[in-house]
């Protein structure tokens, strides 16, 4: 953990010293983590990439004012979640059931197992999308990114108790949603 923070601090200092390479190293390091968080939140591929780009543009413009009192990743994920929230407020619909299940159909014939895996993936994504947004981010940050309750509380700006409650409620929703799908 300390090494990760030192690495991020080094990249930030490089960037603030005028080397764009520092920012690019941060982007390369976090792009897939951010992509998976956003995709799990909104369920749309192209829009996920747009939100990811917008988040990093915000980081680029305000990295100079990042106090480094918290971890860079905490600050980054806060920007990412807020950017995704802004998008969701503008677009009420998550990925529709039809879109998700269409994604599971392979363009060419493939092994049955792969197809079943894709269908399962689509079902999980649909179920995630039916979790109310206010609970979704907490469970995504916990189960996709593996963050601690403490880190999630800093990202979402709420108490650890609230994080626990959100995660619990999200899992209750998920449990109910997944019961609708046989064999999941």
């Amino acid at each position: 953990m300390k090494n990760q923070m030192d690495e991020d601090t080094l990249y930030i200092e490089q960037f603030l010293g005028g080397q764009e390479k520092g920012f690019e190293m941060l982007v390369r390091k976090y792009q897939n983590k951010v992509l998976n968080i956003v995709y799990s939140l909104i369920g749309q591929d192209r829009e996920s990439e747009d939100i990811m780009q917008e988040s990093f543009m915000k980081v680029y413009k305000s990295l100079g004012s990042f106090r480094q009192s918290s971890k860079f990743s905490t600050w980054l994920y806060r920007i990412v979640v807020n950017t995704a929230y802004d998008f969701m407020r503008g677009r009420k619909s998550f990925i529709s059931n039809t879109e998700a299940l269409e994604m599971s159909v392979a363009p060419c014939a493939g092994p049955r197992d792969l197809l079943l895996t894709s269908e399962k993936e689509a079902m999980v994504q649909i179920a995630l999308g039916n979790i109310p947004l206010k609970f979704r981010a907490a469970v995504v940050l916990k189960d996709i990114e593996g963050l601690s309750y403490s880190e999630i509380s800093k990202i979402l700006g709420c108490s650890i108790g609230t994080v626990e409650s959100k995660i619990y409620r999200a899992r209750q929703f998920l449990k109910e949603e997944l019961l609708k799908f046989k064999g999941v």
Partner: protein, 148 residues
């Protein structure tokens, strides 16, 4: 039943290995003896596994860096051309800017012309000599003053 309610409240925390040592012991003991809470725990575990087992998306390492470079370069160009406020606008918004600007200029021109026509028309010299301030006379005076 009371213990079930207490355990259910912290079951998620236990599942996430965030429970205290004391709570962990309490929950483990309770789950060993309560099939209902055990079932609830297994269902929550299953829900968690499905999310943690989700397909991880991965982009080529330089994918986003390339996109950001283009975006940053484009915004820098906009700000260097003397329109920093353009940098934050989308392409469509920028193309539409001349429309309201033109409309405002035309309206101003029309207003000036109609206000000029509503007064008795004097020659420019007469305007200036009379001391009556008109827009045309003022502008002419300023220009002539600057030229001398």
């Amino acid at each position: 039943m009371e213990e079930c309610a207490k355990v259910k409240k912290i079951l998620s925390r236990y599942l996430d290995q965030e429970a205290s040592s004391a709570d962990t012991v309490l929950i483990k003991t309770h789950l060993d003896n309560c099939p209902f809470c055990e079932k609830e725990f297994l269902e929550l575990s299953r829900a968690k596994e499905l999310i943690t087992g989700k397909e991880i998306k991965a982009l080529p390492p330089d994918y986003l860096v390339c996109r950001l470079r283009e975006k940053i370069a484009s915004q820098r160009q906009d700000s260097q051309e003397g329109f920093p406020w353009l940098a934050g606008m989308g392409n469509l918004s920028r193309r539409l800017i001349p429309v309201p600007v033109t409309a405002v200029l035309l309206s101003l021109a029309l207003l000036i012309l109609t206000s000029q026509q509503s007064t008795t028309s004097y020659s420019l010299e007469e305007d200036m000599l009379s001391g009556t301030q008109t827009t045309t006379a003022t502008a002419a005076g300023l220009i002539l003053g600057m030229q001398s």
